[in-house]
């Protein structure tokens, strides 16, 4: 058993026992890998490098204008942030002017931003502002929609990763029994995975519909009429959670199956020992199950995170980023700017930033969950 729990990078070929013909072995290994390597190069690496190249230019999808090299300008426009401090509007005596509600009034941000006297604020848009005393601090961004998308994407990932992983674990625990017919449940729980997310989005449009949608009807029925129907996709507070629920519904089946495998790999003797020691269900989970699931958990964590950060299709089909950018995600913006609005340079910039973001997150996760060398 312990022999099998090795980390992925452990190289067991070091102690070979047969006569080593190193160069021949290496050549055969390369030969066996060549088809895959060529395919990866041509269809993954080369497009990626192209995308990187585009991000340094002003390439359009199709245009009679020649492409120019612009360096990091796209990145700057995408990522720049500034804080602008505004002083309140004051009357002749130097007192701040108040509006009807008694709040201090301020000049509009755009009077500064679009003012040629302040070139350092050119190309920004107003994102959010906070009023403190007689000053307003406005956060300006080069691309407000991108920033909102970034936050939405992180919000989605932060909820989905524990939520979907946790739900998958719960389902796996539920069906981890040897009774007959449990396979039916396992199949039913997995069925949504098989249906395309495009189809799921279309279906859920029906389900989330405001007045007569299925979800509202079911909730009204369950609550015996006390529930008032909500227009799930209309409100900025419920739209993203609705997308989360839908995504989890579709994808949790896969993770349930992976958890299940992890569960079934925990040696039964450990549970018997715990029983002998008089442990109850919760203690068994804490001291036998959960430690045994460590590697499974890491695997699930990393895969869900990457998938969650890449959220796109549901948004593209269902909400187009709305309402009010509350469901816009990074990849959705990449496709919208790059393909729909034909600005492939900017779309590639977003893709590159996304890649760096996910790579960093994945590496942090790996670091945090590495096996401590006891």
């Amino acid at each position: 058993m312990t022999l099998k729990t090795k980390t992925i990078m452990h190289d067991r070929t070091r102690s070979t026992k047969w006569p080593i013909d190193q160069s021949k072995e290496a050549m055969i290994a390369w030969l066996m890998s060549i088809p895959a390597i060529v395919l990866i190069l041509v269809f993954l690496i080369v497009p990626f490098i192209l995308a990187f190249y585009f991000s340094l230019t002003n390439q359009r999808l199709i245009s009679p204008n020649p492409t120019e090299f612009t360096g990091l300008q796209n990145y700057r426009q995408l990522l720049k942030l500034r804080v602008l401090r505004l002083d309140s509007l004051i009357d002749e005596t130097g007192q701040p002017i108040l509006d009807e509600a008694g709040n201090v009034t301020f000049p509009l941000e755009r009077e500064i931003i679009r003012n040629p006297d302040y070139p350092q604020y050119a190309g920004f848009q107003n994102w959010k502002s906070w009023d403190i005393g007689n000053s307003r601090y406005s956060l300006l961004a080069g691309d407000v929609v991108f920033m909102k998308s970034l936050i939405n994407t992180l919000y989605f990932a932060l909820v989905i990763v524990p939520g979907q992983a946790g739900l998958g674990l719960l389902l796996a625990l539920l069906i981890n029994q040897r009774t007959k017919g449990v396979n039916i449940f396992r199949t039913i729980y997995f069925m949504p995975v098989v249906v395309s997310i495009v189809i799921v989005s279309i279906l859920f449009r029906f389900i989330y519909s405001g007045d007569n949608g299925l979800l509202n009807s079911v909730l009204v029925f369950i609550s015996a009429g006390r529930f008032t129907p909500i227009d799930w996709m209309a409100s900025t507070t419920t739209a993203m959670p609705a997308i989360m629920a839908m995504s989890a519904w579709q994808a949790v089946g896969i993770h349930m199956v992976i958890w299940l495998a992890g569960l079934q790999n925990i040696p039964h003797v450990l549970y018997e020992a715990a029983d002998i020691d008089g442990a109850n269900a919760i203690q068994k989970f804490r001291f036998v199950t959960w430690p045994g699931l460590h590697n499974t958990a890491v695997f699930i964590l990393v895969t869900i995170t990457i998938a969650a950060l890449g959220l796109f299709t549901q948004i593209h089909v269902m909400t187009r980023g709305g309402p009010l950018d509350s469901t816009s995600t990074v990849i959705f913006q990449a496709v919208r700017r790059g393909f729909d609005m034909q600005n492939i340079a900017y779309g590639s910039t977003i893709s590159l930033v996304f890649f760096i973001l996910v790579l960093s997150v994945a590496m942090i996760q790996r670091y945090l969950t590495r096996e401590k060398k006891a």
Partner: protein, 301 residues
């Protein structure tokens, strides 16, 4: 006596609760699909009416297969399914061979650079397809191909444009590597000592005992290929090569600024049901192998 009865009751109660929770989840996971399938048998207006009540899940009212008949009239569904089957099957089969070969080399052979390669392969998992879709299109439209017409440039509107870019799959390679590494190395050593060549070891020693992980990779890749949406829209231009997801647009038309009728929801549901069936069947066939393989492929570490 009393104590054991209480424990038994407690257990029975726990079991019933567990069963109820499982049934509740079963309903949550199956109802939308049931809605889709049941709606496909209802006429348009009844479908819409029913969808606001619990009748949505019940095959009541004017049930018929008219939607299916109309759906076949509206789009060459058989052709689309055939194309999807072709593309999916070929990609999956070729992928299994190529990905597992590389994984075997990475997992069981000794050569310089394999660790770097493995890291590189895993890094490509991060890239969502949408980010490289347009550059890939540009690449693919300049590649040469030798076909019935001789040497042509540009792969668009063909089967190979839908197949070849997707044969290699980092996730499959990863799964295979995990699995091969969990096999006892003694098998390989013994074969090597006997003088077997590496390819033979791969084909005759490792592969035969890896059935379940092959099934897993096949299902996951098959799902991905069958449900592909963006790429086929970009690269198929005639019905001859269109797969099922592009055909969706024949039914689901928003912004109907130039069609004669209203959105045919019944036919939409029929089409959605039709194109989900093959992949559900595939899963049902493979599920035992799939589940088994997840259990034994050593998703650990």
């Amino acid at each position: 006596m009393n104590i054991s009865m209480t424990i038994k009751n407690k257990r029975r109660l726990a079991k019933s609760i567990r069963l109820m929770v499982m049934i509740m989840f079963a309903m949550i996971f199956s109802l939308p699909i049931i809605f889709m399938v049941v709606s496909s048998f209802k006429p348009h207006f009844q479908l819409l009416q029913d969808s606001s009540s619990l009748r949505a899940f019940l095959p009541v009212g004017d049930i018929s297969i008219n939607n299916y008949i109309d759906a076949f009239k509206r789009a060459p569904i058989a052709l689309f399914v055939f194309n999807s089957v072709m593309v999916t099957t070929i990609t999956v089969v070729l992928g299994l061979v190529i990905n597992s070969m590389m994984a075997f080399a990475l997992a069981s052979m000794r050569w310089k650079g394999k660790d770097v390669l493995l890291s590189l392969v895993i890094a490509t998992l991060i890239l969502p397809f949408e980010t490289i879709a347009v550059p890939l299109l540009m690449v693919v439209s300049r590649l040469p191909w030798i076909g019935s017409g001789g040497l042509t440039f540009g792969w668009l509107n063909s089967y190979h444009v839908q197949i070849i870019p997707f044969i290699v799959d980092a996730f499959s390679i990863f799964l295979f590597v995990q699995h091969f590494k969990s096999q006892p190395y003694e098998l390989v050593e013994a074969a090597r000592i006997d003088g077997a060549g590496w390819l033979r070891i791969y084909a005759q020693v490792i592969v035969p005992i890896s059935g379940p992980v092959f099934a897993t990779a096949a299902i996951l890749r098959g799902l991905f290929m069958w449900n592909q949406y963006l790429w086929p829209i970009m690269v198929t231009q005639t019905e001859k090569f269109r797969p099922v997801m592009v055909g969706l647009g024949y039914f689901y038309q928003l912004n109907v600024s130039n069609t004669t009728g209203i959105l045919p929801w019944g036919e939409v549901m029929a089409y959605l049901s039709l194109i989900s069936v093959p992949i559900i069947l595939l899963f049902l066939i493979m599920q035992r192998a799939f589940i088994e393989s997840i259990a034994t492929s050593g998703i650990k570490g």
